[in-house]
C-alpha cells in the first residue's frame, strides 16, 4: 500500500485519487475476508471450550457410555479410537509407501502408470461416506468381518491411502538424484538404492504426511457409521474382531439427542477429540522442523 501512496503522493487529479482509494478499500476487503476464517476458528474453539471444559473430569474419561448423563463417559470411545488409529496405520502405511516407491522409483512411463496415478488423484476426491458404503458391502458383508474394529480400520485405510501415497511421492521426489546416482555408481541394485539412500532421506516427510492423514482418519465419522460402529458400547475391544465405537461417533450420538445434558457431554467429548488431534499435529510439526534443517 505504501507503494501506491508514494505513487500518488503528489497526485491531485481526482482519477488518481479514486484509484488510490479503491486500492485501500480492496486491501481492507482482503484483510476482512482473511479474518472470516480466523475469527470463525476462534469462535468455534471458544464455544466448544466454554461448553465442554466444565464437564471434563477424570470420571468422564474412565466411565462407559450411560443413559444417565451424570455418569456417562468416553472410555470405550477413546480406546476404540486408539485401536482404529493403530490398525489403520499398520494397514495403510506399508502399502502406501510401497505404492509411492513403485510410482517414483520403479514405474516406467507407460499408460499403466498414468492410469494408476490418475486413479489415485480421483480416489482422494471421493466423499468419505462412499468409502463407508464400500466397507459395508466388502468387509462387513462379503468378507464377513462383521461390525468389527477390523472392518472399520480397513475402511479407513482405503480412505487415507491415496493421501499417504501422494505425500510419500512428494517426499521421495525431494530426495536429490545425485544420491541415487552415486549409489548406482557403486554397484547398488535398485532396491539397495531405495532402502539405503532414498527411504532414510524421505522418511521424515513421509511420516509427517502420514500422521496428518491419520489425524483425518481419527476425526472421520461417516464411514464408520456405515460400517456399523455404534454409539452405545459398554466395553472396550479386546481384539480386532470385537465391536467398537470411536470418539466422533460417540459425539454424534450425544449431539443427536435433544436433551441439553447430552449436548454438554458432546462438547466435552469434542474437547478430548481436539486435544488428541492437536497432539498428533504437534508431533507431525516437530518431526518436520527437526529434520527439515538437516537436509
Amino acid at each position: 500500500m505504501s507503494r501506491d501512496e508514494r505513487l500518488f503522493a503528489g497526485a491531485s487529479n481526482p482519477r488518481a485519487r479514486r484509484r488510490r482509494r479503491m486500492g485501500v478499500v480492496f486491501a481492507g476487503l482482503c484483510i476482512a475476508a482473511t479474518m472470516v476464517g480466523v475469527v470463525s476458528l476462534a469462535v468455534l474453539l471458544v464455544d466448544v471450550a466454554l461448553d465442554g471444559v466444565p464437564r471434563l473430569s477424570w470420571g468422564f474419561l474412565t466411565a462407559f457410555a450411560s443413559r444417565n448423563p451424570e455418569q456417562a463417559g468416553i472410555k470405550a470411545a477413546v480406546v476404540g479410537s486408539v485401536w482404529i488409529l493403530g490398525l489403520t496405520a499398520l494397514i495403510s502405511f506399508p502399502i502406501s509407501v510401497a505404492a509411492a516407491i513403485y510410482l517414483e522409483e520403479y514405474a516406467a512411463r507407460s499408460w499403466v502408470t498414468r492410469v494408476i496415478q490418475t486413479n489415485i488423484a480421483n480416489l482422494a476426491g471421493i466423499p468419505s461416506i462412499v468409502y463407508g458404503i464400500l466397507g459395508l458391502a466388502l468387509f462387513v458383508r462379503f468378507f464377513g468381518f462383521d461390525r468389527s474394529v477390523l472392518s472399520g480400520a480397513l475402511t479407513l485405510s482405503l480412505l487415507v491411502m491415496p493421501v499417504i501415497i501422494m505425500v510419500a511421492q512428494e517426499a521421495i521426489k525431494a530426495v536429490p538424484s545425485t544420491l541415487r546416482e552415486a549409489a548406482y555408481g557403486l554397484g547398488a541394485t535398485r532396491w539397495q538404492v531405495v532402502r539405503t539412500q532414498v527411504l532414510p532421506m524421505a522418511m521424515p516427510g513421509i511420516l509427517t504426511g502420514t500422521i496428518l492423514a491419520l489425524s483425518r482418519a481419527v476425526g472421520e465419522t461417516a464411514p464408520l457409521i456405515m460400517v456399523g460402529a455404534v454409539g452405545f458400547i459398554a466395553f472396550t475391544p479386546s481384539g480386532p474382531l470385537d465391536r467398537f465405537t470411536v470418539l466422533p461417533l460417540q459425539i454424534f450420538n450425544w449431539v443427536s439427542r435433544p436433551q441439553d445434558e447430552f449436548r454438554l457431554l458432546a462438547a466435552a467429548g469434542i474437547v478430548v477429540l481436539l486435544a488428541l488431534l492437536l497432539t498428533m499435529n504437534a508431533v507431525a510439526i516437530i518431526l518436520r522442523n527437526r529434520y527439515q534443517t538437516r537436509i
Partner: protein, 311 residues
C-alpha cells in the same frame, strides 16, 4: 558383495549369485507394483459394489421415476423413490456454502499471496490449516448449538434443523480448500508480470485483479469446483444441522435432507440386505459418487488444459 569375492574364479557360482540377486530384485519390483495396483482395485471395488446393488434397485424402480420424481419416501407404506428432493437439498447446502467460501477463500488467497508480509503469512496459514483439520462432526455441533440459535434470533420462524446453518458451517469448512489451492496458483504467477504492470503505473489492486488473478484463473476455477464437490460430499455437519426431511424447497430456513444425510439416516436404522431400502443406499451413493467424480475430473481437466505456462 562379500559372497561375490569369495566365489571369484568359479564362474558358475558368481552367475548363480547374480541370478538370485536378480530374482530378489524382480520379486521386490512385483511386490511394489501390486501395492500400487491396490489403489486401482479400490476404484474397481467402489464401482462394482455400487453398480451391483444399483442395478438391483433399478429392476424394481424405474430410472425415470428415480430421476424425475419429486417425493422421496422409501420408508413409508406407500413408497416413492424420486431423488430430486435429496439432490435439491445437497445443491442448496453446496450453493450456500459456495456463496460464502468462494469469495472469502479467493480474497484470502489474494491477501496471503499479494499483500501479507512473509511473517504474517506464516502465522495465518497454519490457522487456516487447523480450520481444514477440524472433524466435521465438530462443525455439526457448532452449527446446531451456536449458528442455529443465532439465526433464530434474527428469523424466529426458522426450523431447529435448517439448511442455512448447515450452509454456513460447510462454507467455513471449505474456505481452506479454496484459499490454499488458489494461493498456490497465484504464487505460481511469475514476478516479471507483476513488475511489468507496476512499471506501467498500475496500482496494487490493478496488478492483483487484472494481471495476477487472470493469469492464475485455471487454478482458481479448479479450486472452486473441488471445494463445491467437497461441500456436496460433506456428511456429518449436514446430517446434524440440516435435518432429515426430504423437502423440495428453496427456503433455507426449512429443514431438508441431503443425499449424504439420507445415507446416514438409512444405515442407522435397521436395513437388512436385499430389501429395497438397503438398495436405495447404493442408488443414492452412486448418484453422489458420479456427481463428485465428474466435478473432480472437470477440475483436473481445467488445470491441465488451461494452465498458463510461463518461462
Amino acid at each position: 558383495m562379500k559372497q561375490a569375492t569369495e566365489t571369484q574364479g568359479d564362474g558358475t557360482v558368481a552367475l548363480n549369485f547374480r541370478r538370485s540377486r536378480n530374482v530378489k530384485e524382480r520379486l521386490i519390483g512385483v511386490l511394489l507394483f501390486l501395492c500400487a495396483a491396490t489403489s486401482t482395485l479400490v476404484t474397481v471395488g467402489v464401482v462394482a459394489v455400487l453398480l451391483g446393488e444399483t442395478i438391483g434397485f433399478f429392476s424394481q424402480v424405474s430410472i425415470v421415476e428415480f430421476l424425475t420424481g419429486t417425493r422421496w419416501e422409501p420408508m413409508f407404506q406407500e413408497k416413492h423413490f424420486g431423488v430430486l428432493p435429496l439432490l435439491a437439498g445437497s445443491f442448496m447446502v453446496a450453493a450456500g456454502a459456495a456463496v460464502i467460501a468462494l469469495p472469502v477463500g479467493l480474497l484470502t488467497a489474494i491477501f496471503l499471496s499479494e499483500y501479507a508480509a512473509p511473517s504474517l503469512r506464516k502465522t495465518l496459514k497454519p490457522m487456516l490449516e487447523i480450520l481444514a483439520g477440524i472433524p466435521t462432526v465438530v462443525y455439526g455441533y457448532f452449527a446446531l448449538t451456536f449458528v442455529t440459535p443465532l439465526i433464530r434470533t434474527v428469523f424466529p420462524e426458522t426450523d431447529v434443523f435448517n439448511a442455512l446453518s448447515a450452509s454456513i458451517v460447510v462454507g467455513i469448512m471449505i474456505i481452506p480448500t479454496v484459499s490454499s489451492l488458489s494461493e498456490d496458483a497465484l504464487r505460481a504467477v511469475p514476478n516479471v508480470l507483476r513488475e511489468g504492470a507496476y512499471g506501467l503505473g498500475a496500482t496494487k489492486l490493478e496488478v492483483s485483479t487484472r494481471i495476477v488473478v487472470p493469469a492464475a484463473l485455471s487454478g482458481i476455477v479448479a479450486s472452486f469446483i473441488l471445494a463445491i464437490s467437497r461441500a456436496i460430499g460433506e456428511t456429518m455437519a449436514v446430517t446434524i444441522a440440516a435435518g432429515n426431511l426430504p423437502n423440495m424447497t428453496l427456503n433455507p430456513l426449512e429443514s431438508i435432507q441431503t443425499m449424504t444425510a439420507y445415507i446416514v439416516q438409512a444405515s442407522l436404522g435397521d436395513t437388512p440386505r436385499g430389501t429395497i431400502v438397503y438398495q436405495t443406499l447404493f442408488a443414492v451413493a452412486m448418484t453422489l459418487f458420479l456427481i463428485t467424480l465428474v466435478m473432480n475430473i472437470v477440475s483436473q481437466w481445467i488445470l491441465s488444459r488451461f494452465r498458463e505456462e510461463y518461462e
